[in-house]
Homo-oligomer: 167 residues x 2
Amino acid sequence: MEFKEAKNKFVQTWGALGSQWGINKTMAQIHALLMVSNEPISMEDIMEELQISRGNASMNLRGLMDWGIVYKEFKAGERKEFFTAEKDLDELAVKISRERSKREIKPTLKILKEVSTIEANNSAEEKHFVDQTSKLYDFVLKADNMLDKMTEFNDNWLGKLFMKMMK
Amino acid sequence: MEFKEAKNKFVQTWGALGSQWGINKTMAQIHALLMVSNEPISMEDIMEELQISRGNASMNLRGLMDWGIVYKEFKAGERKEFFTAEKDLDELAVKISRERSKREIKPTLKILKEVSTIEANNSAEEKHFVDQTSKLYDFVLKADNMLDKMTEFNDNWLGKLFMKMMK
DNA sequence: TTAAACTTTCAAAAATAATTGAAACTTATT
DNA sequence: AATAAGTTTCAATTATTTTTGAAAGTTTAA
């Protein structure tokens, strides 16, 4: 396989994966492209390489910047903007999990708390509902904390020790 | 908040969350409904409660069973089929992570290996591509293994120790 | 201040994904 | 073997999400 083919395959795969994870295809593709590029890329080049419109490129780049995983760069003497992706994978994982926690897990926890604290009458049905949603609340809270700790301690001794233990 | 309202809120929330994670809304809603129900539910009841068609209910129940998180049950004397969800959350997490690994991570690793092992010429561009995709391969492999180990040891002493360490 | 270079926005169009419903299929009962 | 009870399938429809492209907005430079 030659470079161009490999690069294309990577971008396509990352894009398809994105869809399965609720991220739109183009956004994932742009990210893929920036990840494997050794230098900043202009919007023009992204449009060209992925064959997408200016509007599409603009909106998805904005989206990636909102996630904190793509940055704008300015090149001396150049008028236009260039973009780079966070290339440190540990850092990328931290940012993604922080953001997902903020956007999805925290709001879900709020709802779970609400619905699990209703006054159940003594029917088995209502008791089970309260019981199950409470368990879910605890579980999600635990998972969220764990993920947070794991990313936080990612590359320190504690994390490394854990990796060894789990081998 | 009264029971019916809470239940509805939970089902809606779980459904919305599903979409963000690449699971279709109805599938997530059916799962939610079964999770908080203390007894098996028939397809009729699911259709009624979620106001969906027979075909939709059938296909999404099938999907949930393929994930291994919903089971068919037969009630003595009853002709029709009833459904229950896996209610043990640790078990649910294990099944979901196993399945996602099989469906998404493993195929991705295969591609990453392919594209990261091309013969790079000595341009910085190609070198960076190989380097970055190799790192990505290692990272994804490590994460996949970790998740596997974590769910496997979920409720044994090692897991519990880890939880304590991370507090 | 004007014009050029570039970016953002957003309503309309296109693409994709989910849903319906009725026919085909299965299984159990008489 | 015929019928009834129930389930699955899938082409057509409907709903949702993404993309386009051109107008409006910004910034820089002469």
